[in-house]
C-alpha cells in the first residue's frame, strides 16, 4: 500500500498548524469538515492499519474536488497564491483505494465509460486517424460532452484566421483517471492520446481545457510521454494569433483553477478580452490566482455540493457584471448550471471572440 510509506507527509498535514490550509470551498460552501488535515489523519489511520477502506473512509479520500487545487491558499498580499500540486498524498490514497477494489460506484462507472467508449462520459465515438497539420486543436471529452459550443467557436476562429489546423476530438487524456486513482487505465489512455498527438505532426497543440494543458505540459513528461510540440491554452494561442473581436457589453472574467493556480496564466485571457471592440471588462473582487473556484472538473461525487460551490462563485461574479466569461469547459458547465436563476449569461472566451 502506498499510504503506509507516506507516514511523514500524512503526519505533517494532519498536524498542521499553518492555518490557511483549511480555506477549502467544500468547507466554506458546503460546511463539511473533510479538510486536508482531517483527511490526512484518516489516511494515516488507514496507512497504519487502524482503519480499512470502508465506504465512508473512501468517501473522505474522494472528497476534494480536483485534488485540492481548488483551494485558494492565500487570499491577501502576504505571499503568492499556493499553486503546488496538493494531490501529493491524496492521489496515492485513491490509487490504494482502487487497488483494494474499494472504489466508489461512481468511479467504477467512469472507469466503465472509458473502457467501453474511450471517454469519461460514455460518448458514442469511434476512434479514427488524426489528420496532419502544424496546429492541433484538441476538443477534450469534457468540452465534447458539456460545452461543444466552445469547440465550434474555436474551429470557426481558427478557420477564420487562416490557421492550418486539424482537430483531435476523441478519447480521453487520462488526467482525470489519474486523479481518481485509476492509474493503470490513466497511463494506458495517456499513452494512446500522446500517440494521436504525435501522429498529427503538429508543432503546436491547442486546448481549451486548462486541466488538459496542465496534463500535457507537466504530467505527460513525468510519464515519459513526449509530444514534440508546444502546448498552449486557447487563450494563449488566440492571443498569439492576433485574433480580434467585437462584443458589446460589460463582462467579468472567471479564472479557472487550473489556468490560474496550476498554469499561472492570468494575463492572456485578459489581454485577449482587451482586443475585443466594445467589450468592457469589470473585474470580480476575487480574480486571478485568488479567484474562488466554480466547482469540480468532470469528476465529483455530489452534484448538490458542486452546485453550492458554483452558486457562491456566481454570486461573487454577479457583483461585477451580468455576463461571465471564462476559459475552461468545466467552469462554463459549473457556472451555467446556476446562471439562469441569477440572470447571468456564461460564455467561453472563444465564444466571445467568435461572436
Amino acid at each position: 500500500m502506498r499510504l503506509s510509506s507516506m507516514r511523514e507527509i500524512l503526519e505533517n498535514t494532519a498536524i498542521d498548524h499553518v492555518y490557511y490550509r483549511s480555506y477549502d470551498p467544500l468547507v466554506r460552501c458546503v460546511g463539511r469538515e473533510y479538510t486536508p488535515h482531517r483527511a490526512a489523519q484518516i489516511a494515516m489511520l488507514v496507512g497504519g492499519g487502524r482503519l480499512g477502506w470502508t465506504p465512508d473512509v473512501v468517501q473522505a479520500m474522494y472528497w476534494p474536488l480536483n485534488s485540492r487545487i481548488e483551494l485558494v491558499w492565500n487570499l491577501d498580499d502576504s505571499g503568492p497564491a499556493f499553486a503546488t500540486d496538493a494531490g501529493e498524498w491524496d492521489r496515492p490514497a485513491r490509487a490504494d483505494v482502487v487497488e483494494a477494489g474499494a472504489a466508489p460506484a461512481w468511479v467504477k462507472a467512469l472507469e466503465a465509460n472509458v473502457k467501453t467508449s474511450g471517454n469519461l462520459y460514455g460518448l458514442a465515438e469511434q476512434p479514427k486517424a488524426v489528420g496532419q497539420a502544424p496546429v492541433l486543436y484538441i476538443a477534450d471529452d469534457t468540452t465534447r460532452a458539456h460545452a461543444p459550443e466552445i469547440a465550434q467557436a474555436m474551429q470557426l476562429l481558427l478557420a477564420g484566421e487562416g490557421c492550418d489546423f486539424t482537430t483531435l476530438a476523441q478519447g480521453t487524456d487520462g488526467w482525470a483517471l489519474y486523479d481518481l486513482g485509476l492509474w493503470e487505465l490513466a497511463r494506458e489512455k495517456a499513452t494512446e492520446f500522446a500517440g494521436w498527438i504525435r501522429a498529427s505532426g503538429a508543432r503546436t497543440v491547442v486546448a481549451n481545457c486548462p486541466a488538459l494543458v496542465y496534463a500535457l505540459r507537466e504530467w505527460y513528461p513525468a510519464l515519459g510521454l513526449r509530444l514534440d510540440a508546444e502546448v498552449l491554452h486557447h487563450s494563449e494561442f488566440l492571443l498569439k494569433l492576433g485574433v480580434r473581436g467585437k462584443f458589446a457589453g460589460r463582462v467579468t472574467f472567471h479564472d479557472p483553477s487550473y489556468l490560474s493556480r496550476y498554469l499561472h496564466q492570468v494575463e492572456a485571457p485578459r489581454a485577449l478580452l482587451g482586443r475585443v471592440e466594445g467589450l468592457e471588462l469589470a473585474e470580480c473582487y476575487f480574480k486571478g490566482e485568488k479567484a474562488n473556484p466554480s466547482g469540480p472538473l468532470a469528476t465529483f461525487f455530489d452534484e448538490e455540493y458542486a452546485e453550492q460551490i458554483a452558486a457562491r462563485r456566481a454570486d461573487e461574479l454577479a457583483l461585477a457584471a451580468r455576463i461571465v466569461v471564462t476559459a475552461a469547459p468545466a467552469s462554463k458547465r459549473n457556472l451555467a448550471g446556476v446562471a439562469r436563476a441569477r440572470g447571468l449569461q456564461v460564455l467561453d472566451i472563444a465564444e466571445v471572440l467568435a461572436c
Binding site: 498536524i15 492555518y19 468547507v27 466554506r28 460546511g31 463539511r32 469538515e33 494515516m44 470502508t54
Partner: protein, 486 residues
C-alpha cells in the same frame, strides 16, 4: 449523560457506529439524512482541535474523544429541534465551527452530538448606513471578511485563524483579532446575538448600539463557549475600508520601556490598529533578519500599524514616534511589514509538535499596565523551572488600561506519554504565575478543557455566579459539558 467514544471503542463496534435508532430517525427528520453523520470518518473529524496535547494523540493514532454523531443544521429552527431532542434524551451537545480552537473547546469529552454550524453560513443583512452586518454563526472568518470586502467594508477582526475559524467560534471563546487595539475584541464588535438555549428555546438580543434595559445578555453569552447555549446568528459592527495604513517600528531598550510607550500612547487617546511588543529573545531573529544584528538580544521590537483616514493616520504616526522616542526607542523600520507578511506562520509551534517527544504552546493572558512586565518575567521563570527548552514572549494587544501577553514555549521529554504530563506541569506553573501578579489566565483563546482546572482560581468570588447561571440555564448539563470548568 453519555461517555465519550474512543477510537478503539468505535473500531470495536464496527464501521457502522450503533446509535439509538429512534434518536437517529428524529434527527434525520429535522435536518435530512444527508446532514446526520455517524461514520467513523466523520467522527474522527471532530476528535480534536489544535490544543497541543491533541496533536500528540494524532501522532499516536490515539483518539480518546469521539462524538456519537454529527449533525449539520441549516437554520436556527434546525438547531432548536436538535437541542430539544438532545434535551429530552439528556445527550450532550457540542457546537463546532471551524474546529480551529486551541483549548479543546470542541472536544466531545462526554460523547454526544456535535452540532457543526458551518452549513449556517449566510449573510443575512448588511446595513451600510448603520455599519452593521448580520450573519449566521457558521460562516467562516475569511468568508465573512471576503463578503464585506467585496462590498467596500471590513470586519476589523483578523485572528490568525481567520481562514479556518467561524464567526460563532470567535464569539464562543471571546476571541480577538490582530487589529484589536483599534477595532476591539469580539465583545466590542458584537452588537446583538441569537442563541438557542438548552431547552430549545431561542433568545434574541436587540440590535442597538447601547441600551439601559438590564444586564447586557450579549456579554453573558460571549465567552460562554457553548455551555449556556448555541449562538446561531450575530450582528456585528463593520467599518468602511481604511484609506491608509502605515507601519511604525522601534527597538526599545527594555520590555518595560515598550510597555510604557504603549501606555503613554493610549493615554493620549491614540489607538493604532496593531500594537505589538516583543521581548529580546523572541525579537532577536527578526532583528537579525532585518539587518539589525547588532541589536539582536538587546533591543525589544515594538511596532504599530496605523490605519484609517489619511490625515488621522498621519497624526497617529506622529504621536507613535513621540511616545516611542520618549521611552528611549530607536526607529527600526521593517518589523511591521515583516509581521504582516508572516502573520499566519506558526512554524515554531508546529516544529515542536512534530518532533518526537516534543510539545509547545502559546499561552495568552492579560494584565493591567502596572503588572504586564512582572507577568512576563514571572511566566518565563515559572516555565523555565519546569524544564522548558525555549520560552519567550510578546504582547500583541494593548488597550487603555493594559494588554495581553503571549508566552511561547517548547519542551521535550523521554517519550510521547511523558511529554503530555510535562505539558500539564508547565500549564500549572504558568497559570499560577499569571495569578500571582493578578493577571487573567485567558485573554482570547478561551478556557475549554485546557484551562478549566484553573478558572475557579482566576476569579474565585465571581465564578460561583457563573456556576449558578449555568445551573439555571442548563439544569441537565447537556450544553458542551466539561468546558469552562463547568
Amino acid at each position: 449523560m453519555t461517555t465519550a467514544l474512543s477510537l478503539d471503542a468505535a473500531l470495536a463496534r464496527g464501521e457502522a457506529i450503533q446509535v439509538d435508532p429512534i434518536l437517529l430517525t428524529q434527527l434525520e427528520a429535522v435536518v435530512g439524512n444527508k446532514n446526520v453523520a455517524t461514520s467513523i470518518a466523520d467522527l474522527i473529524c471532530y476528535s480534536h482541535d489544535i490544543m497541543p496535547p491533541a496533536f500528540k494523540w494524532v501522532r499516536r493514532d490515539d483518539l480518546p474523544y469521539l462524538p456519537h454523531m454529527v449533525v449539520f443544521p441549516g437554520s436556527t429552527r434546525d438547531v432548536q429541534e436538535i437541542v430539544k431532542i438532545a434535551h429530552y434524551n439528556r445527550i450532550p451537545v457540542v457546537p463546532a465551527g471551524g474546529t480551529s480552537g486551541t483549548i479543546g473547546g470542541i472536544l466531545p469529552v462526554c460523547g454526544g452530538i456535535v452540532v457543526d454550524m458551518k452549513r449556517m453560513n449566510r449573510l443575512v443583512d448588511l446595513d451600510p448606513y448603520s455599519l452593521t452586518v448580520t450573519v449566521e454563526a457558521g460562516m467562516l472568518g475569511q468568508d465573512y471578511e471576503d463578503q464585506l470586502n467585496m462590498r467596500g467594508f471590513i470586519g476589523g477582526h483578523y485572528p490568525q485563524s481567520i481562514r479556518c475559524s467561524a464567526v460563532g467560534g470567535w464569539i464562543g471563546p471571546r476571541g480577538v483579532g490582530t487589529f484589536s487595539t483599534k477595532y476591539g475584541k469580539i465583545e466590542d464588535i458584537v452588537q446583538s446575538l441569537e442563541v438557542v438555549l438548552a431547552d430549545g428555546s431561542v433568545a434574541r438580543t436587540k440590535n442597538v448600539p447601547r441600551a439601559s434595559c438590564g444586564p447586557d445578555l450579549d456579554q453573558l453569552f460571549i465567552g460562554s463557549e457553548g455551555t449556556l447555549g448555541i449562538i446561531t446568528q450575530a450582528t456585528l459592527r463593520i467599518w468602511p475600508k481604511p484609506a491608509k495604513r502605515e507601519w511604525v517600528s522601534y527597538g526599545m531598550p527594555s520590555f518595560e520601556a515598550g510597555v510604557h510607550a504603549c501606555r503613554d500612547l493610549m493615554a493620549e487617546g491614540i489607538y493604532p490598529a496593531v500594537a505589538r511588543l516583543y521581548d529580546e529573545i523572541e525579537g532577536a531573529g527578526a532583528l537579525k533578519e532585518l539587518g539589525y544584528a547588532e541589536a539582536a538580544g538587546k533591543e525589544h521590537p515594538l511596532y504599530f500599524g496605523c490605519e484609517g483616514r489619511a490625515d488621522l493616520t498621519d497624526l497617529e504616526v506622529k504621536v507613535v514616534h513621540e511616545c516611542c522616542r520618549a521611552q528611549g526607542g530607536v526607529e527600526r523600520p521593517g518589523f511591521g511589514e515583516r509581521w504582516w507578511r508572516k502573520r499566519y506562520d506558526t512554524t515554531f509551534l508546529k516544529k515542536a509538535y512534530m518532533l518526537p517527544n516534543g510539545i509547545g504552546d502559546a499561552i495568552e493572558c492579560s494584565a493591567t499596565y502596572k503588572n504586564l512586565t512582572a507577568m512576563h518575567d514571572a511566566m518565563l521563570e515559572a516555565i523555565h523551572v519546569q524544564g522548558a527548552h525555549e520560552v519567550f514572549g510578546h504582547g500583541s494587544h494593548f488597550y487603555p488600561t493594559g494588554g495581553n501577553l503571549y508566552i511561547i514555549w517548547s519542551a521535550f521529554a523521554a517519550d510521547e506519554k511523558e511529554i503530555e504530563s510535562k505539558y500539564w506541569r508547565v500549564m500549572d506553573a504558568a497559570m499560577k504565575a499569571v495569578l500571582s501578579v493578578d493577571g487573567s489566565i485567558g485573554h482570547h483563546h478561551g478556557i475549554g478543557v485546557n484551562k478549566g482546572p484553573w478558572i475557579h482560581l482566576d476569579q474565585p468570588t465571581a465564578w460561583p455566579v457563573v456556576q449558578q447561571i449555568k445551573a439555571a440555564l442548563d439544569p441537565l448539563g447537556i450544553m458542551n459539558p466539561g468546558k469552562l470548568g463547568l
